[in-house]
Structures are given as C-alpha cells and as structure tokens.
C-alpha cells in the first residue's frame, strides 16, 4: 500500500497517547455507531508507485494520439513553447493555495496582474479578472453581469458554439433569466432578426468572433444595434484571432469573454482550460471572482493583492454576483507566459498562419469535392458539404492517423487548421479525401 503519511505506526501511537487517546477509535467517538461504515472500503488494495505508474500508463496507452489534427470546435491544437511548459510546472506555482497571504504570494499575484494586463491588450478592454473555469462559464457569468430586475432576457446568436449555448441555458435555469437564440443566416448572426428581437427586457446579446462555423461576424454593427436598445454586448472570441481581428473593445463590446485554451494550454481531453473575462470601465466592478490590484507595502514598495473583494462570496455571501472561489490560476499563469514568449509579433504570426493555412486547406478541399457551405470571411475554421457521407471521409483519415474535422451531420464537416498543420499534411489529407471521393 502506498502512503504519504510520514509518521510510523509507533510514532502514531505515541502521538495518540500524548494527545490523550488510547486508540484511533477514541478520535471518532462523536460519530454515532449507526452512521459508521464499519467495513473495509470496496476499493482495490493500495499500490506502490511503480505499480500505479504501470496501471495508469496502460490506460493512457489505450487512447489514440493523432499526429495531425484538423478538429477544433472549442478546443484548439496549437504549439506550446518549451519555456511555457516549464513555467507551468514550477512547483510553487503548482502547489500554492489562492494568494490570501499577499506577503508570501507576490509571485502568483504579479503573474496574474501581468495576465490581466495582457488580456486587456488582447481584448481591447479596460479591466480583466483573474480567470473563471472556461470559456462557456465565462459567457454565462458575463450574461449574469448584464441582467437586472428589469432586464432578464439574454439573447445569444444561434451561430455560437453549441456547448457554450448549453452552459448559458443551464445558468439561466438557475437565475430564472430567459435565454433566446437569435437565428443565423448564411452562417452568421441574422442582424435583421437581432434588431427585431431586442426589447426593453433584453439584458444583453452574446456573439462569438469567429463564430462556431469559423465565420467572421460583423460585431461592430451588432454593438450599435444592441446599444440602441439599451442592452449590453457580450463578445466571445478566440484569443489567437484577437491578435489580428478587430477587438471586442474596438467593436464596442461591454464585456469580452472567451476560451483561453489556445494560449498555451494542452488539449487535455477538455480540461483544465481557462475562461477569460474583461470589461469596460463602466462594467468592471461587476466582474465575478478574483482580481489582482497594485498597491504598496508598509515600506512604500510596489506590491499586489487580491482586491475589490467586497463583490465576492466570502464577504457578500448570498448577495454576491457569483459564487466563484477557486478559478484557473495556473492556467492563467500559463497563458501569460505563452503571450510573453510569443510576443505581439509571434502571436500575430500565429494568427496569420492559422488564417492563411485554413484558407489554403479550404481551397484544396474544394478541388477534392468538399465545397464550402457559407460565404463570407472565416478565420481558421470552416464548414464543408459533400455528397460523400462525413463518416466515410473521417474514417479514412483516421486510418492514416489524421483526426479530421468535426462531423456536423451526414454531409457537413467543421474543419480547423492551426499553425501546427504543415502544407505536406494538408496535401496528404486532401489526397486521402480525393481517394474517398474517387472510390
């Protein structure tokens, strides 16, 4: 049996005695007999480290790692520089608690302050929080920031990630807010419908840039439409795309949110990821969760603390805007290190390569018989249609170690290309698709 208890059996007995107990049972006299387990747990016997390693490695070995990935839909395969991985593995960052004791937590607090700064630069917003669980819960928290007694309807584009829509719906079930989808037309939000659906009850409208289908939305026009109706605009977005595309801040968003996973966080079968949230000067005091602020110490030196805590659950209890306590701090540090390593030029180049390669691949697939479903500009994802069943195409690609796009249905596939996809592997994928089409 493995154990992490340093004290030997003898020491434990001595300690019991010193503390005034005869046996371990004496420690638990307050637990009534009728609720005691009084049997051994039905678990495997404990194992030494090497046996644990073998068992877990065996499970990992039963998962398939794809060499080439053309699938995104909310989780994106990007290159993670070695130094980023190293920063995120630093023992103290990994094992520390939430930085309540600021004097011995300056390293984490400053890292988060740097993260907040870079998120503001990326989104074009005034202030960022220290992170929430993921992009979907960030969208849900942002919607909650915008609602009040009079405005309890949340509009969301039908072209957003369906996973995010699901989470918005669940949070609305809790809050009693009404969630209404705004239809899409040609793969983007229908602006005419948006205008018609806005009313005095609408708190906000949520849209993603690029949207679920990879399409570039006209967020600026949406901001005008939404603000005319007295509602807020919550702009979701891919952080890599933000290095290139018009930012939420420039478009007039009131709150910007997104899935931070593309910023140096591995795919990890869906988590841990990172929800980023930033807001305007008018809205930032409604942001949920931790925020790090600059201040000075008793000697006048610059330092950092968790601040504006009067918004939070441990002070406000049931009156708090959110219940969030633990967030994704280590992922935020990782994202900050990633942005620092890439720098502005590196991040722009990543975005440009995603864009260029996705467009190259899309044209190639078109010649192989997979035509694009929607018109208009797209970033690094796009939807194709074909007479060949989606599953046939994807199965053939899988046989060659390629994870193809996400099947939306029998004829449509959502593809994703990042800087990691080389011209050779795109050409190979196209050749395989042509084979399926030809057979």
């Amino acid at each position: 049996m493995g154990t992490y208890i340093p004290n030997t059996g003898n020491e434990q007995r001595e300690m019991l005695e010193e503390a005034g107990f005869q046996s371990f049972d004496d420690l638990y006299t307050e637990i009534p007999e009728c609720v005691r387990l009084n049997r051994k747990l039905d678990l495997p016997e404990g194992s030494p480290e090497l046996s644990v390693r073998r068992q877990v490695e065996a499970l990992a070995g039963r998962n398939r790692i794809f060499n080439y990935i053309f699938r995104g839909a909310g989780a994106y395969n990007h290159y993670i520089p070695a130094v980023v991985e190293e920063v995120a593995s630093k023992e103290r960052f990994v094992t520390a608690y939430t930085p309540y004791q600021a004097e011995i937590s300056q390293g984490i607090l400053q890292s988060i302050f740097e993260y907040q700064t870079m998120i503001c630069e990326l989104t074009g917003m005034e202030a960022s929080n220290a992170s929430v669980y993921d992009g979907a819960s960030a969208a849900a928290e942002a919607a909650a920031m915008c609602t009040d007694r009079k405005r309890k309807t949340v509009l969301a584009s039908a072209a957003i990630n369906p996973g995010v829509y699901q989470v918005l719906k669940t949070y609305c079930f809790g809050s009693g807010n009404r969630l209404v989808p705004v239809p899409e037309k040609n793969g983007v939000t229908d602006l005419k419908k948006l205008r018609e659906m806005l009313s005095a009850e609408c708190a906000c409208f949520y849209v993603e840039q690029p949207n679920y289908f990879g399409q570039v939305e006209d967020v600026e026009t949406m901001a005008d439409i939404v603000h005319e109706a007295g509602a807020k605009l919550v702009a979701g977005g891919n952080p890599i795309a933000m290095a290139l595309l018009r930012t939420p801040g420039e478009c007039g968003a009131d709150v910007a949110v997104g899935e931070g996973q593309p910023l140096g966080i591995p795919l990890s079968f869906g988590g841990p990821y990172l929800g980023f949230m930033a807001a305007t000067k008018e809205m930032f005091r409604r942001l949920p969760g931790r925020m790090v602020g600059e201040t000075s110490d008793a000697g006048g030196n610059r330092g950092y603390v968790l601040t504006l805590q009067a918004r939070e659950q441990h002070i406000r209890r049931e009156k708090a805007g959110s219940n969030i306590c633990s967030n994704e701090a280590l992922c935020a540090v990782r994202a900050a290190a990633y942005m620092a390593v890439m720098g502005e030029e590196g991040l722009r180049e990543t975005a440009r390569q995603c864009y260029s390669k996705a467009h190259y691949f899309q044209k190639k697939l078109k010649t192989a018989g997979l035509s694009r479903v929607y018109p208009g500009d797209f970033f690094h994802e796009f939807v194709t249609r074909s007479d060949i069943p989606s599953r046939m195409i994807l199965k053939k690609l899988e046989d060659h170690g390629i994870l193809g796009g996400l099947p939306l249905d029998e004829t449509r596939i959502l593809w994703c290309v990042t800087e990691l996809n080389t011209k050779e592997e795109m050409d190979e994928a196209v050749r395989i698709v042509e084979e399926v089409a030809g057979s």
Partner: protein, 476 residues
C-alpha cells in the same frame, strides 16, 4: 520586482515558429490598435518566472495549516501521470473508440468515489467546489420542479457555512435561510425545526462542520429535512477527516460534491484548477449534468446525457487532468490507505491542538476532527494583537498562517488544519514557533503589529488597492 512589461526592449523576441509554408493571406476586419505585448528574449522570460517563483510559498516550503483547504502534500507521481501524452494530447471531441482509456479512468474514479461517499452516480463536469455546489443545487431545483413543487424556494444554510454555500444557493435561484449554530458549534435542532416548512427545497451542510466538529445529530438533521420534503446537500470540503470511516450517503445526504484538489491530493495551482465532481443517490441520477460516462452494449465506454439532466455547467467533461491525479492517488492509497489518511489527519489535528491549547484558547473544547479553531479574542482584548497580526507574525517564522476570520461565528478566529502528510517534528516545531510568537505578542505587542519583516514585501495596503483600483499595467 519589475513587471514583464518593464523588461526587454524593442526587437528582442523568442524565435518559435517556422515561416508560413503556404501563401500568406490576411482577413479584412483587422484590429486598428496595434497589439502590445512584451519584447523579451527567452533568458529574460525564463529568469523572470524563476524570480517570481521565489516569491511564492508552496506546499513544499513548509507547514501549510490552512483550515478548510486541506493543503496536503501533492504527490509527484500524480503530476507525471497527468502529463502523459496519452491524456494531455487528447482532443475532447475525438471519437469514443479512440479514448477508451480515458473513459475507463473516469468510470473507475467515479466508482471509487461513489464507494467512499455512499453515492450511486457521479459527474466530473464541475471545475471547483463552488461550481459543484451550484450544480447540486440546480439538481435539487430540477427534482422539485419535476415533482410539481415549485413552491420550494428556500435553502437552509448554517451561519457557520463557507460563503460559497449561500452564494451558490442564490445563483441557483433560491432564497437563503440562515440557521444559527448552537453553542457547541453544531446545528441547533430546535432552530432547524422552526426553519423548515413546505417551502424548504433543501439543506447545505458540511460534516465535520466548519468548526472542525462532527455533528452527531446528523441523522436527526437529515431526517428533519426529508420529513419536510427537502433534499440534503453535502459540501465535501471536510471529507478528509472521515473517508472510509463514515459516508455522507449513510448520513442521509442525497447530493454531494468533492474537492479533488483538497481531499484527493491534487494541487491547488495558486487558486486553481480544481475539480468539484458531484455525486448523488440513484433516484437523482437523471438530473446530473451531461455528459456522463456509460457502458455501451458492446462493453465499451461512451458518453450519454441523463434523461432529465440540468444541462452542462461547463464545456466537455470537466478538469480531466485533475481527475487523473485523483485517480493515481486513489490507486496508491487503496482500500486501507484512504481511512488511514483520514485517521492520521484527525490525529495530527488533535496532537497539535493539545499542544496549542496549553497557552491559546480554543473556540470549542474537546476532540476535534481534522481541524480546529483558535480564538485570539482574549489576546486582542489584552494586547491589541489581532488574529491578522498573529497570521502576519507566523509569516516571519516560515509558517503559512491558518485560515483567518473563518468561520464567521468565532471572533478573531484562526482555523488550523495540519493534514495527515505532516510529520511529528513539523507539528512540534510549529507548536513551539506559535508559542514563542504568542509570548512575544503578550510582551511586545507593537512588534507584532509591524510583522512581517522578513517577507519579500511588508504588509500591503489593501484599502488603497480597493479605493483606487489599478488592475493592469499601462504602457507610457
């Protein structure tokens, strides 16, 4: 220390990506304001973070008795297992047949945790404890709705509860009814009986409770709630004391959450990621968030959404890599190691409590579970040295302070949770360090008001930070 933005100079960079191997293109809707990020060489970035790390107190820097946070040692094998490419490189939307190992890991972890808690089903989607609470409360709401009992609008929460409890209840659309604790720190049964009624949706409780005591009336408490038609929610924050000894399922709880980043040894990451799986009894499994794992007809594993699911509370399946760490921990400790950890957590707490109560008043006398609450009220009355000052004084002694000012029902509270992974020597040294500090506080209180003096920064001005918030760096 300088910020990333104050280092480097224009032109410095890390060379990461090869040139684009396809014709370069550019979108139309470009950002107008140039992106501004640091201009740094790899040496500078790498050293920056090494410097920052020195200004963090991690679990291996010493004693970390942060009450209600269960800061036990974070085993290295767990980290190694979570970093395996067979987990870290999996796309969440790969076909089921390519992720059978990951699915089996989830199913086995679910099975083990159900056995430890006395639950029948579990979902790993919640990313932290508070997220689990919110999820569990939505399940309570869905349950009552399905039974046509929309009038059940109130959640009962003891006044000793963690702030997330009432906050989660409010987010789930409930009105919070706070019940006062008795003098012994446990639920006041009479007050509880007065509080329940036809509008009771449920109760949220930790047991052991937040003052470190096992509420021996637990069966009576859960019965009162059930008789009123409510459900009982167990906040798993304090499970470490009783794993393998007693189970929330056997105490009458219907829904629970666990903190894998506390009880099951996953690290806290300076504030996250955590993992807050939600478990429930069979009758409530239909309301779990989706997707949950299932066994298919051919014996393979897949995902399914429960029949009356409350929906998803996050993308995909939760903080998967954190679950891998908890799984490795469960395999290591196994059937005997789990209760052994609980027993030693309780032993260490009582051993330290015994040493400290020689000079420092305890909020509640007698045997504690895995943690106990000291009160600095007397000290403050006599010398003006508050719990905060003592905490800051401990920083100079290389000890992470206990949790301050929690629970709210104890004045000048310091809550101590040593955990089972500390040796006797560490506890002895901590007790002596604390005794010396307490003595100093009595003799020379002004000195303690100045603490800490040995840390990278001195006491920070939190009022200024909140009054004029500076939440980012501004380039000139």
């Amino acid at each position: 220390m300088k910020l990333l933005f104050e280092l480097g100079t224009s032109g410095r960079h890390c060379d990461i990506l090869p040139p684009c191997d396809v014709p370069e293109m550019s979108p139309e809707c470009l950002r107008k304001k140039e992106l501004r990020l640091p201009h740094l060489s790899e040496t500078e970035i790498s050293r920056h973070y090494t410097e920052l790390e020195k200004q963090v107190y991690g679990v291996n820097d010493g004693f970390y008795p942060l009450g209600s946070c269960t800061m036990k040692y974070n085993p290295k094998i767990n980290e190694a297992m979570a970093a395996l490419p067979g987990f870290a490189k999996l796309h969440p939307l790969q076909p089921d047949y390519t992720v059978q190992g990951a699915l089996e890991l989830l199913r086995r972890t679910e099975k083990y945790l159900c056995e430890i808690t006395g639950m029948d089903a579990m979902n790993f989607q919640p990313a932290a404890g508070a997220h689990g609470e919110f999820t569990g409360l939505l399940m309570i709401r869905a349950f009552h709705q399905k039974n046509g009992e929309k009038n059940r609008t109130k959640i009962i929460v003891p006044d000793s509860a963690h702030g997330t409890n009432p906050a989660s209840a409010a987010m789930a659309g409930y009105t919070v009814v706070s019940v006062p604790s008795g003098e012994d720190g446990c639920v006041d049964l009479e007050k509880l009986k007065e509080a329940v009624g036809e509008d009771t949706a449920g109760l949220m409780l930790t047991n052991p409770n937040t003052v470190g005591l096992f509420d021996k009336n637990i069966l009576e408490i859960t019965r009162i709630i059930h008789d009123a038609g409510g459900l009982c929610y167990y906040d798993g924050a304090n499970l470490n004391a009783v794993m393998g000894i007693t189970r929330p399922g056997d105490m009458g709880f219907d829904i629970i959450h666990l903190n894998l980043h506390k009880t099951f040894s996953a690290p806290h990451g300076g504030g996250g990621p955590g993992s807050g799986p939600v478990g429930c009894k069979k009758d409530l499994a239909e309301f779990l968030p989706g997707p949950v794992t299932e066994e298919k007809e051919d014996g393979s594993s897949g995902f399914a959404v429960p029949e009356s699911s409350i929906g998803a509370v996050r993308s995909f399946y939760g903080n998967f890599l954190v679950i891998v760490k908890a799984f490795a921990y469960l395999l290591t400790l196994g059937a005997d190691g789990i209760p052994e950890a609980a027993r030693n957590a309780v032993l260490n707490a009582n051993y330290l409590k015994k040493k400290l109560e020689e000079f420092c008043p305890m909020a509640y006398p007698g045997t504690c579970m895995h943690e106990f609450v000291m009160t600095m009220k007397d000290l403050k009355d006599r010398t003006g040295v508050a719990a905060l000052d003592i905490a800051k004084g401990l920083l100079d002694n290389g000890i992470h302070p206990p949790t301050m000012y929690f629970p709210l029902i104890v004045r000048e509270a310091l809550m101590v949770e040593p955990t089972e992974t500390e040796s006797r020597e560490t506890l002895d040294e901590a007790a002596e360090g604390f005794r010396a500090l307490y003595q100093r506080a009595l003799e020379n209180p002004d000195e303690i008001h100045e603490a800490p003096v040995k840390t990278p920064v001195r006491r920070l001005d939190e009022v200024r930070a909140a009054r004029k918030p500076v939440l980012r760096y501004f380039y000139d």
